[in-house]
Amino acid sequence: MINPQDLCTRARDLLASGEVRAVVGYRRGSRGMAAEPVVITKPEEAASLVWDPSCVHNLALYLVADRKRLAHLHQTPGKPIAIVAKGCDARALVVLMQENYFKREEVYILGVSCESTGVWDDQKLMQRLGCDSQSLTGGRFDGDDFVVTTATGEQRISAPECMADRCLECRHPFPTMNNVVLGEEKARTLAAPFAALSRFEEATGTQPARWAFWQRQFERCIRCFACRSVCPMCYCEECIVDSITFTVALDTTAAEKANRVRWIQRSATRSENIGYHMTRALHLAGRCIDCGECERVCPVHIPLRLLNNKLEKESREKFGYEPGVSIEIASLVSSFRDDDPNDFIR
């Protein structure tokens, strides 16, 4: 089991020795005991770092943001940046490195193993406890359980009851790629791979029923773009849904600006929403490592994991490919193999 104090000590030492220029981790926020992402640069700030089951965010996103910021300022990264990474976060880093977004030596991975559990799902937990997030004052890992503190005192909950679906289905809770790792690698099977997807496919049955389901889901999308903004893989400088990225030069005419191609309109209508979500899902095929952040943040609860899981399953079944496993192998969409399980390509 991880002693969160060890994490603070590691982070402090890394900053004090000057080995890294910053540490991306979690700290306590102002909403109950829920953790929030933080970037620290001074050794004395390391004491504020936490590690508990509310550390749900995929922090790889902040390395992407850091890289973009530096590029914008025409600065070189210099020393590496350290990141607290769970198994899923580390897999995201693998994909980013496969795609040459960073070099391995530019990132110091402070791995944290989820061991036999994972992070919790806030909604499941609140439902289980029958209280609200503000009344939850403490929470920690303890073996196969979560121990939580509310107004009525401390209680022990069997973790799988309140774990996020993605954690239940996780096959790599240990960050294999790391510079240092806290916690052990533990074998476990809590739910079958793609369990939620299988349940959904069984429940909806036919293709028309499935289509009706998705139309209803996309109908209510408000296009806040939180799913895209929270995704470490959605790092494109040019996103088809934005108007920001139309290249403007001194000689760009007003007509060119007005007539820029808009693949997807800003209106949050069903057709435009479907265009947006399908494009995003396809752009994540063979890249999504199922951190489930898109689904977690959606304010109108669109089950986006199902879309990404479907493509992940396809990439596994058709190409024998699992994203985020190793930086030694080429990414799915940039590789060709003689032993490709498909015959259409030969």
Binding site: S133, I222, R228, V230, Q265, S267, E293, V297, H301
Partner: protein
């Protein structure tokens, strides 16, 4: 006008509202939203989105256009339908959003689309006997769990019955339609309602500290380094603004849906000050390029600029932006921290 309504008769009341399109909170796919309803069961928490869209929909078509080669373009104005709509179960904080939107769209500028929709809209509110969210802070920003501002009718849940109180003339009309369904409250009803209201307004809430001092302090703190610090985890999504009962920024685009002949429509859609392309100039320059400058825009608009312009906070304390932020940016904590630091020295 105060009357009593048995809970099981709310559908009967709704059926008397001829000529009104009735909406109520509905839970579908795990999401509470206002949907057309024959009857309503008012046991909802905060709906995912406030009812703002009834007066200010996310998509508003201004006109359609068509151009046949060699001919002048033809424009066809599109007006909102303007049919009467009544929304049941509106929370007092969300209702307070409406008069704030009015300031923007009917006072300083007469927006015909907003005015038309707003003019035929009525809110039947539900007092919050219990706070529907742990992040409620309506009392900090001049509201209350029993506020009537922006409502036409306020209902108070007394267990098996509602105390129904008219706030506006429209509200009285809605109640008159109910006829005998509504009965005179007894002394017991009134004292029970009084007791619940007192309990509601004394229920502890999170708070913005010394809110009267906030506008000048934020003004003083404009250049504070806290903005960038506090915004550092921000992912630039639009959750906080799109779930807000008072955010009203918009974008206007021409959406074409055919090229021979060229045709399409001019459309207003919600925009968000948290998007990186918000206020981006045609030249490529963006005056709000950083996360901190965009967080400052959102917070100061609600707690300083709007207050300077209209003498009221633009935030109604519903807590949706706090609960919904993917990374824990908390407007209460932001205001408190920036205001406190500006108060020092």
């Amino acid at each position: 006008m105060e009357r009593m309504l048995a809970k099981e008769q709310i559908g009967d009341w709704i059926r008397t509202l001829r000529g009104w399109e009735v909406f109520g909170p509905v839970l579908q796919d795990g999401v509470w939203s206002y949907q057309p309803a024959d009857t309503v069961q008012l046991d909802h928490p905060n709906t995912a989105q406030p009812p703002k869209g009834f007066a200010f929909p996310q998509r508003e078509v201004f006109f359609t256009f068509e151009q046949i080669k060699g001919e002048p373009p033809r424009l066809t104005p599109v007006a909102p339908k303007g049919g009467q709509q009544v929304v049941f179960g509106v929370r007092p904080c969300d209702a307070r959003g409406l008069p704030r939107m009015d300031r923007v769209f009917t006072e300083t500028f007469d927006d015909v689309y907003y005015r038309t929709r707003r003019g035929s809209l009525a809110y039947v509110g539900l007092a919050c006997n219990q706070p529907p969210s742990p992040h409620c802070f309506c009392k900090s920003v001049g509201g209350s769990p029993v506020s009537t501002e922006g409502l036409d009718v306020l209902m108070t849940d007394l267990g098996d019955r509602y105390l129904v109180a008219a706030v506006t003339a429209t509200g009285e009309k809605l109640m008159q339609a109910a006829g005998d369904l509504l009965t005179e409250p007894t002394g017991v009803d009134r004292s029970e309602a009084g007791r619940l209201r007192l309990a509601a307004i004394t229920h502890p809430q999170r708070a913005v500290n010394d809110v009267a001092s906030v506008p000048p302090r934020l003004k003083k703190g404009f250049d504070s380094s806290l903005w960038e610090d506090l915004a550092r985890p921000c992912i630039s999504c639009g959750i906080c603004t799109f779930l807000c009962p008072t955010c009203h920024c918009f974008d206007i685009n021409d959406e074409t849906n055919g090229s021979t002949p060229l045709k399409g429509s001019r459309v207003r859609t919600w925009d968000s000050c948290q998007f990186p392309d918000f206020t981006m100039h045609s030249s490529g320059h963006n005056p709000r390029e950083t996360l901190g400058s965009r967080l400052r825009q959102r917070v100061c608009h609600k707690f300083q600029y709007f207050h300077e312009n209209f003498g009221m906070f633009q935030c109604v304390g519903c807590g949706r932006c706090v609960a919904g932020c993917p990374v824990g940016i908390d407007i209460i904590a932001v205001v408190n921290q920036v205001a406190a630091s500006a108060g020092e020295g």
